[in-house]
Amino acid sequence: MKRYTNKDIFIFASVMVIIVAAILSVVAMVLQPLQKKNIEINKKQNILLSLNIEVEKDNALEKYNQYITNTYVVNHEGERQEDKDAFSIDLKKELDKPLGKRNLPVFVGSLSKDTIFIVPVRGKGLWGPVWGYVALEDDFNTVYGTNFSHKSETPGLGAEIATREFQKQFIGKEIFNDSGEFVSVRVKKAGKADGGPHEVDGISGGTITSKGVDKMLEEILESYLDYFKKQKNN
């Protein structure tokens, strides 16, 4: 049996780590543009899904440019922020800031005769973040469509929020009640929604994820309230 001195071991370990690190960094660098492109395409597909438009990833960029005609950033008071690119804003970072300092992106979609306003949302599920897009009609009350994604919710349970069946429930729901107060759209326990304009069914077996979506909608839409009001008065 060969004997290994401490020096041998150190040399072996160092060489191994350097080789592994070098290969991984090269691979990561080479693949990064492709990965970034995938993320961009995926984001654009998701934004279009909130307009209930399903596109293949090959023509996602083209369709996005066709339907999303304007994007801008507002602050908590609903004032436009110039020189900021809505698409590249990372909502995760914005949510760490105090309410008054957040940059809130708005995507404007133009369909045949309607103008739709899309806001990104982000919150917590059971295992990790959940996020998505909520599209509102120009009354800033009626939900035109939604799309949700998640990082690591349980397949078959919480992960069902990423299915169109769940998302389509939101179409036509309203975020303000009859007296004009903000009530959001509540995600109830599965089968417990009252069928009214402010409630949808959650996922059975995915209660915590459903609650996460519920809280996310309430919190993020609330931060846009001043913007909604300003737009409505215009």
């Binding site: 592994v20 690591s152 059975s204």
Partner: protein, 217 residues
């Protein structure tokens, strides 16, 4: 180099490939890797992708460790094995993100969990570190396939009864539901994976009597 050239698929080598599928199946006989088998088998598709990823990681890591087997200082061999596995898993993850983004989104955290899969470390330690690359390769593919086979079977059963779909497509006809058939929510929950694995073990031992431990009492 030894002079007695063994054919690539000699019966001894084929046994390495075949045994883990049945007689020494990592999940049903050695009862390893149960954790991940419970987590990702709710649907068929992630089960298959996970099985393929494990086949790749296990085959390549087995060959790597086998090639290095006379160089690795024994005192740090576990660390070396872990580094090789982690390296390969990150590689798979990066490639999936670049070329199969949808699939990588589905597997998300579970792919990283391959690193902690005891089957892989077990085979590296028990087989690859003492055998030549080709048998090590077969052993890796065989064991990963044995693991994958169970994963796919459990995924199939759970998706069929739990969601009424296979690979995301509806297979239980709508008319069944009108007659009062319902998807069994229990199949979606992790305990049902354990019960399904238990039933597979039962059936396997019924058909393959030599696996039954003798009652010493």
């Amino acid at each position: 180099m030894s002079m007695d050239k063994e054919p690539l698929f000699s019966s001894k080598n084929l046994k390495l490939l075949r045994e883990p599928l049945n007689d020494s199946n990592p999940i049903t006989v050695q009862v390893l890797g149960i954790c991940s088998a419970l987590a990702i088998t709710v649907k068929l598709e992630p089960s298959v992708v996970m099985a393929l990823s494990v086949v790749f990681v296990m085959a390549v890591s087995n060959v790597t460790i086998s090639l290095l087997r006379n160089m690795i200082p024994p005192r740090i061999r576990i660390i070396v094995q872990l580094t090789v596995i982690a390296f390969l898993v990150i590689l798979v993850d990066q490639f999936l993100k670049a070329f199969a983004y949808e699939v990588s989104k589905q597997l998300s955290v579970f792919l990283g969990l391959i690193i902690t899969n005891f089957i892989i470390m077990g085979r590296l330690e028990a087989f690859a570190s003492g055998n030549k690359p080709w048998p090590a390769f077969l052993d890796g593919v065989g064991n990963a396939a044995g693991y994958g086979l169970i994963l796919v079977v459990v995924g199939f059963v759970r998706e069929l009864f739990g969601s009424g779909t296979l690979w995301g497509y509806q297979v239980i006809p709508e008319s069944f539901y009108q007659f009062g058939y319902e998807n069994n929510g229990l199949f979606i929950l992790p305990p049902m994976a354990l019960i399904t694995v238990g039933i597979i073990i039962w059936i396997q031992r019924y058909r393959n009597r030599k696996l039954i431990e003798e009652n010493k009492a």
